[in-house]
């Protein structure tokens, strides 16, 4: 039984899918895959790079992203399920978390007056999840409130907090790297959501309480704050 072959199967499929976002690194699509709502992240070729280097870098980043997602999943952190990875087009097919909204939208849509109090439980949850992630030595690399999703559970159920977009993630045990990870979140948090310093403090307190290795990390965070932008001055 001869089945037709086509080298362009995935690009062909993506050309008909709904493009959600185009970044510098990758394009994000929404489609149906194996009967399920799926997000496809395609790291496209960068023509401005030397082809060999491009291939190596793109491959490495795809691999790191998949590894980090699996590592988080093993630790019980809610992340999308990876359905399929194609290494020739550097595309990752993941579960679409349907019926969710970003933590960013959640915070932005809550009334400013009640903001800090009403959102405290959320801040605590985020702190706990990040503590779990860092205890697994996973550095997210791009922590922002747009990369955290809340999916409403059943009527009286608790909503589930998901972490997404591990495109810049890597594995590291260094408190510096974890401190920088938190610093990136702090900067993003405070600039996106004005007047929420107290809320972020709550997040950090929850993180410190939940993580076994937090004191070194918080110390590094304070050092990084004094230094300025995202640089970790290690080696």
């Amino acid at each position: 039984m001869a089945l037709e072959k086509s080298m362009a199967a995935i690009p062909e499929f993506l050309s008909k899918a709904e493009l959600l976002k185009q970044g510098a690194e990758a394009r994000v699509y929404r489609a149906r895959f194996l009967g399920r709502p799926t997000i496809v992240k395609e790291r496209f070729r960068k023509q401005y790079r030397h082809p060999l280097l491009d291939e190596k870098l793109t491959h490495r980043r795809t691999v790191q992203e998949v590894r980090s997602v699996l590592r988080c999943r093993r630790a019980g952190i809610s992340v999308p399920v990876v359905y399929f990875v194609d290494y020739s087009s550097h595309s990752i097919f993941l579960e679409e978390i349907v019926g969710s909204s970003t933590v960013r939208d959640h915070i932005a849509s809550s009334p400013p007056s009640a903001r800090c109090e009403g959102l405290e439980p959320l801040a605590e949850r985020v702190g706990q999840v990040l503590a779990r992630m860092h205890d697994e030595d996973v550095i997210h690399g791009d922590l922002t409130t747009s990369n955290m999703l809340l999916r409403c559970g059943p009527e009286d159920g608790v909503s589930e907090l998901f972490l997404i977009d591990f495109g810049l993630s890597y594995i590291s045990a260094l408190p510096e790297d974890k401190g920088v990870d938190l610093y990136v979140l702090e900067k993003a948090f405070l600039s996106t959501h004005p007047h929420t310093e107290a809320l972020f403090q709550r997040l950090l307190k929850s993180y410190a309480a939940a993580s076994k290795k937090s004191s070194a990390v918080i110390k590094k965070l304070e050092e990084v704050r004094l230094r300025g932008r995202k640089r970790s001055m290690v080696g």
Binding site: M1, L3, E4, K5, S6, M7, A9, I10, F13, A31, R32, F33, L34, G35, R36, V63, V66, R67, V69, L70, R73, R74, A75, G76, I77, S78, V81, V82, Y83, F84, V85, D86, Y87, S88, F93, E95
Partner: protein, 175 residues
Amino acid sequence: MHLTHELELFPGHKVTQMLFKEVKNAAELRQCAVEGKINGALINPTMLVNPFQVLVAANKAVNSQNNGKMKTRSLYSEIIFNLSPTNNISEAFKRFGCSDGDDSVLVVFIHNEDESQLLADLTARVSGRQVPVEEVSSLTDHAKVKKLYKVTQEEEESGTLLDAVVCRMAAKDVM
């Protein structure tokens, strides 16, 4: 009864699954498969959690065949290999392929035309009772699956067993 799904990435490639219980001739079926007389993969359903798991393995197999990057010799052995969390081919066959003493079997085949003839051929070969493919979850040996895929306690609490299994199948080449 049977379940057919056309692969979105490979239009024209349809994946059909059939599940049989009370199978009396597993040894004979396995022999036929080895000799290439059966145009399909025979899978041990106790290692399956859901038909979706088979779809994921089949999709990956077709993709590998397309790219010329299969690790095994045929499309059907590739499907069985993809189900396994390890890269050891013979181990994959031992655990996920059907064995002589099995009393249930899930058959999967990939085709591009109407499946009724293929279904009839297969039903004739299997000495057993066909049941809806969805019933495979009632045959799952949860303990064995958890052990083989090394599913952690935390994972079980935060997601489903299917999530854990599919994730490992998808990430196998890089872990």
